[in-house]
């Protein structure tokens, strides 16, 4: 599979929920720091309890997330992202990620994500929105 160019990566970022509000010039700068990985079907991206040091954006394909009992948590597809939650607490992944089919992932290192958040508050807000959704869901479960 072909390596995505800088512009292709920047336009891909624009499609994601996290970066859709960010200007193209900034997206190109961010795209420059993205690393592209190709995965085969059923290949593991990371295992549960592995130390997290980057987040993953799905450029193509489908990724399944499993909990510690190998139950499917969710199925993510193109333009979704995962692996970001533990980056904010020096924690480990609390799920494993396995590619359902041939997948292209773009990865962003933790320190880069932190820098981006400090430069572009819209990214932080997008993340908060995602977490807020999950939080209300969790809250409902507990109550």
């Amino acid at each position: 599979m072909k390596e995505l160019s800088l512009i292709e990566k920047a336009f891909f970022l624009k499609k994601t929920r996290l970066f859709q509000e960010v200007e193209l010039d900034l997206l190109v700068a961010i795209a420059d720091k993205l690393n592209q990985d190709f995965y085969d079907a059923n290949e593991k991206v990371f295992d549960i309890y592995h130390r997290a040091n980057r987040m993953y954006l799905i450029a193509k394909g489908t990724v399944n997330l499993f909990d510690k009992d190998q139950n499917l948590i969710c199925e993510l597809s193109t333009n979704d992202f995962f692996g970001d939650e533990p980056l904010f607490g020096e924690r480990e992944h609390h799920y494993s990620a396995i590619c359902k089919n041939e997948t292209i992932l773009l990865t962003l290192a933790k320190s880069h994500l932190m820098t981006i958040i400090s430069e572009c508050p819209v990214v932080a807000i997008a993340l908060l929105e995602c977490y807020a959704q999950n939080f209300s869901h969790r809250f409902q479960k507990k109550s």
């Binding site: 800088l6 512009i7 624009k14 010039d25 700068a29 690393n35 320190s111 880069h112 430069e119």
Partner: protein, 932 residues
């Protein structure tokens, strides 16, 4: 006692157990390797003779090269500690098997295989062990502790020799082999323990070798070929190997001449055992020296003279050695050769190589060691043996040539080391300041073409929003050849997006281009969309393309766009008019414009301001300035934009009003326009206020402000210098001033640097000392808040110091350096420290190092006894009083809060006094405290 041990071994609190485990691991596997190697060699020589050795070496070289490819492949999939675990397990199993096979089936070919295996085991364990160490240590740690690891390795090796010496005759080889196996099994246990108990330091770079991302061999080769440092480092190592083999042959030749039994006399008897005995004694002394040097002195030498200078020592030693050897062939020179190889190369050079590895590109780190140990070192062996066989009579000349080239390589390595570290840091920075046009500048022609082609492809994206983005991006490239393509794609946009495109075009390089006017006219004729038509109409008016007679009636229309177009046309157009007619038109336009600006309707005011943006005169500034304080943010933004457009150097009387507006509004767009206006005014007397109000600015606003002050030039130097020295100002302001001064007048900054830094070290010490001791002095009070305040104050001062050093240094990317020094990643931080060492003077660096280093706070406090004496007398209330005068609002509020909480005598009077000097934010807080 603990402190003494730590000081001796250079280990900081918290590192002791990890360092001990790694030392133990090195000792154990080196012991095993030493036993296996020595016994296999002696058994081979005894059973098969030396004739088989060249064949074995050939097979070892080939096997090592194969192993290196395998390890590179494996490192892409598993971590370095798992690789070491795998190699240890494989070696332990094979060694156990080999021990029994040798005992029960002592065939010649078995001894040969065993010899090959033991050599392979030694080489691969060395490579994997050091690769594993790199995963757990950064450069600064490596400088302190790697010497001890190297010494542990030698210690294990020496122990193996001693054990063979003492017990071989008594118990034979089999129990010794079993001992080596047990040592390897224990090493397996140790590495598992290390992997479980110790956290590795992963690089932030996403393609870090140990982070299990995927890479191709071609990308590794590409990274290697594009890193001069990696190439030089490998060449350096190759030359080490060449020199080692050449020197070994030379000193053995000299020693065998000197210890020739034929030269024996009564006074100086020489027997066949004289040479081995002599060699044994010298080797033992060197081994002890190596262990002592590695454990206690190497890190101190590196700290004292720097790694890049240490790397010259072995090169100079070899040059001296061969200069002597060319003239005298004496025992002294031969012993010096022995020390050069077994001492200098095995301790200093090996340790240097391990440290230099940290500066290699992240993509190659780890693999470079494997490539070197398993490929280039055998290659060096092969080359040197071939040359020495072919030119046996010129061995010393060959050595001299090698030593000369070695010193040249050392200089190259010095040069590229700093650069390589900086490149590693640069790879970590995100360049938010770059626009697409700037990105193109950093690319070669092929890549530029690719980027433009990609953007062109996006012009046919199914999402209209993306097509528009691509058009915007292509407009910023400012290439006339692309305009036609952009406009053709514009045809396929909806009317709303066409309006957005017109706005982009209006602010682009192509705004005046005829093809744009033609295209817009075409859209005007073909479009039924009213808003689009109005916008094009306004665009034409701005470009002076409408006739005044034709728009006169539009002045009375309720359509704001048409009215605006009419006003602009009357104001600007000179087509076929008499002077009196033109004057009349302008008077009408001004009156209409005034009406718009006086309107209560926000949109009309905004349109009025937009019309004024087309003006080149600052005549309207008085009026426009008043809109900066308008209640509507849209009006404020448009007013700021208008001012930024029409203001010039003669408008300095408005600078204060603009500054006040800048302070009062936090809107990003508004601030950027105000800063732009101040930049155009270029009044250096406003610099102080400009910088002072930037404390709470966003990153892009700060960048904008910096550029604004930079554009004012050298006249700002005195005020910038005074800001930097003024420690009553917020650190962020002083940082900005320092950064700007570093760009426009670096010598001035450097001239004041020592005074500034030493004053800041004192300030840092104050925060640091009380941050760590105040709670201990007052254990009954909960001073967590104060401690946190003091520690963050300390960090703020450290930030300031680093910035100043970066700005005053010759590094262009000092932002990067500051970022790296703040990185949570220890490897990035360590590399930044190394760069800082290279750029600031040794005096400043040695003063500063204890602050930046990760050493324990107790030892940091002891670093400056005079400061300890100066500060240690303050009690809690004195400390809080001191914080009252801090430049940081946070310090002042915490001080007031704690004074109130702890009921410090006269705290209310003190607070009222403070209110006189502080701003509104503090007043709110003070009133709350007083009311309580």
């Amino acid at each position: 006692m603990q402190r003494l041990i730590r000081n001796v071994f250079g280990v900081y609190p918290g590192e002791g157990i990890m360092a001990f485990r790694f030392c133990l691991l090195a000792t154990i596997w080196a012991l095993s390797s030493s036993i296996a190697n020595t016994l296999s060699a002696s058994l081979l020589l005894e059973k098969c003779g030396s004739a088989v050795l060249p064949y074995n070496y050939f097979i070892i070289a080939i096997a090592l090269i194969t192993a290196s490819s395998l390890f590179i492949y494996l490192l892409r999939r598993i971590s370095a500690d798992r690789l070491l675990l795998g190699v240890l397990s494989f070696s332990a199993t094979l060694l156990t098997l080999a021990s029994f096979v040798i005992f029960y089936f002592p065939k010649n070919w078995i001894f040969q295989i065993f010899h090959i295996f033991s050599n392979l085991m030694d080489a691969t364990l060395i490579a994997c062990y050091w690769t594993c160490l790199d995963r757990y240590h950064d450069l600064q740690e490596a400088k302190r502790i790697y010497g001890a690891y190297n010494a542990s390795y030698f210690f294990g090796y020496a122990m193996g020799g001693v054990i063979i010496n003492q017990f071989f005759d008594k118990i034979g080889p089999f129990p010794l082999f079993l001992l080596a196996c047990c040592a390897l099994y224990y090493a397996i246990f140790q590495i598992r323990l290390i992997a479980r108990k110790t956290h590795p330091i992963d690089d932030d770079r996403i393609d870090e070798v140990l982070a299990s991302t995927k890479r191709t061999f071609s990308s590794i080769i590409h990274a290697f070929c594009h890193s001069p440092f990696a190439i030089i480092l490998i060449c350096f190592s190759l030359f080490c190997k060449l020199l080692q083999n050449t020197t070994e042959i030379n000193y053995m030749t000299t020693l065998s001449k000197i210890f020739n039994p034929a030269l024996s006399t009564l006074a100086r008897p020489i027997t066949e055992s004289s040479l081995p005995e002599f060699l044994g004694k010298v080797q033992a002394c060197i081994a002890i020296g190596n262990i002592l040097f590695g454990m206690f002195f190497y890190r101190r030498v590196v700290r004292k003279i720097g790694l890049t200078n240490v790397t010259l020592i072995p090169a100079l030693v070899f040059l001296f050695l061969y200069s002597e050897w060319m003239v005298h062939d004496t025992l002294f020179v031969a012993v010096l050769g022995l020390i050069a190889v077994n001492g200098f190369l095995f301790t200093i050079e090996d340790n240097n190589f391990n440290l230099f590895m940290n500066a290699a590109p992240v993509k190659l780190r780890g693999m470079l060691r494997i490539i070197n140990d398993s490929f280039f070192e055998p290659l060096g062996m092969l080359i040197s043996s071939s040359v020495l066989i072919l030119f046996a009579s010129c061995n010393k000349s060959f050595g001299f040539i090698l030593a000369s080239l070695f010193i040249i390589l050392s200089f190259f390595l010095r040069k590229f080391f700093s650069k390589s570290i900086l490149i590693s840091l640069r790879e970590n920075a995100i360049h938010f300041e770059r626009k697409i046009k700037h990105w193109l500048k950093f690319l070669n022609k092929k890549e530029q073409k690719e980027i433009i082609e990609d953007l062109k492809k996006k012009l046919s994206d199914e999402r209209e929003e993306f097509r528009l983005l691509a058009m915007h991006a292509l407009l910023t490239v400012e290439d006339h050849h692309l305009l036609e393509t952009i406009l053709l794609s514009g045809d396929r946009l909806t009317a709303t997006k066409k309006q957005e495109l017109i706005q982009y075009i209006e602010h682009s390089f192509f705004a005046e281009t005829s093809s744009i006017i033609e295209k817009l006219d075409q859209w005007l004729q073909s479009s039924n969309d009213e808003d689009l038509s109005k916008m094009i109409h306004l665009f034409f008016a701005k470009k002076g393309l409408l006739h005044p007679d034709k728009v006169m009636t539009d002045l009375d229309t309720s359509d704001l766009y048409k009215r605006a177009a009419a006003i602009i046309t009357l104001k600007k157009n000179l087509a076929n008019q008499t002077h009196s007619q033109a004057g009349l038109n302008r008077t009408i336009a001004y009156k209409e414009l005034e009406l718009l600006l006086k309107s209560k309707n926000e949109q009309e005011i905004c349109m009025g301001l937009e019309i004024l943006r087309e003006s080149t005169s600052s005549h309207w500034l008085d009026k426009v300035i008043s809109f900066l304080n308008h209640s509507s943010i849209n009006v404020k933004r448009d007013a700021a934009k208008c001012i930024a457009k029409i203001v010039d150097k003669n408008a300095s009387r408005y600078a204060e009003a603009i500054l006040n507006a800048l302070k009062s509004c936090s809107d990003n767009e508004f601030r950027l326009s105000c800063i732009k206006a101040l930049e155009k005014i270029g009044d250096s007397t406003t610099v102080f206020d400009m910088i002072a109000c930037s404390i709470y600015f966003r990153p892009n606003e700060r960048r904008f402000m910096e550029n604004a002050v930079i554009s004012m030039g050298l006249k700002t130097v005195p005020v910038l210098t005074s800001i930097i020295k003024n420690n009553t100002l917020h650190d962020r302001c002083r940082l900005m001033a320092g950064k700007i001064l570093g760009i426009i007048a670096q010598p001035q900054l450097q001239a004041n640097l020592t005074d500034i830094i030493f004053a800041e070290i004192e300030r840092a010490y104050f925060y640091f000392y009380y941050g760590h001791t105040i709670q201990l002095q007052y254990p009954l009070h909960d001073l967590t808040l104060l401690v946190n305040t003091l520690q963050s104050g300390y960090q703020s001062v450290i930030d300031f110091i680093i910035y100043m050093l970066g700005a005053a240094g010759s590094i262009q990317e000092y932002d990067l350096l500051v970022y790296a020094l703040h990185s949570k990643n220890a490897k990035t931080r360590a590399n930044a420290l190394e760069t800082l060492e290279k750029t600031c003077g040794s005096r400043i660096y040695s003063e500063l190092y204890p602050l930046l280093d990760d050493s324990p706070w107790e030892s940091k406090i002891e670093t400056w006894p005079h400061l300890k004496k100066q500060f240690s007398h303050l009690g809690l209330s004195d400390l809080l009083k001191q914080l009252e005068n801090s430049s940081s609002l946070f310090d002042r509020t915490v001080s007031a809060h704690l004074q109130a909480k702890l009921q410090i005598p006269n705290w209310k009077e003190s607070l009222r006094e403070q209110m006189k000097k502080n701003d509104e934010l503090f007043h709110h807080f003070a009133y709350e405290l007083l009311e309580k």
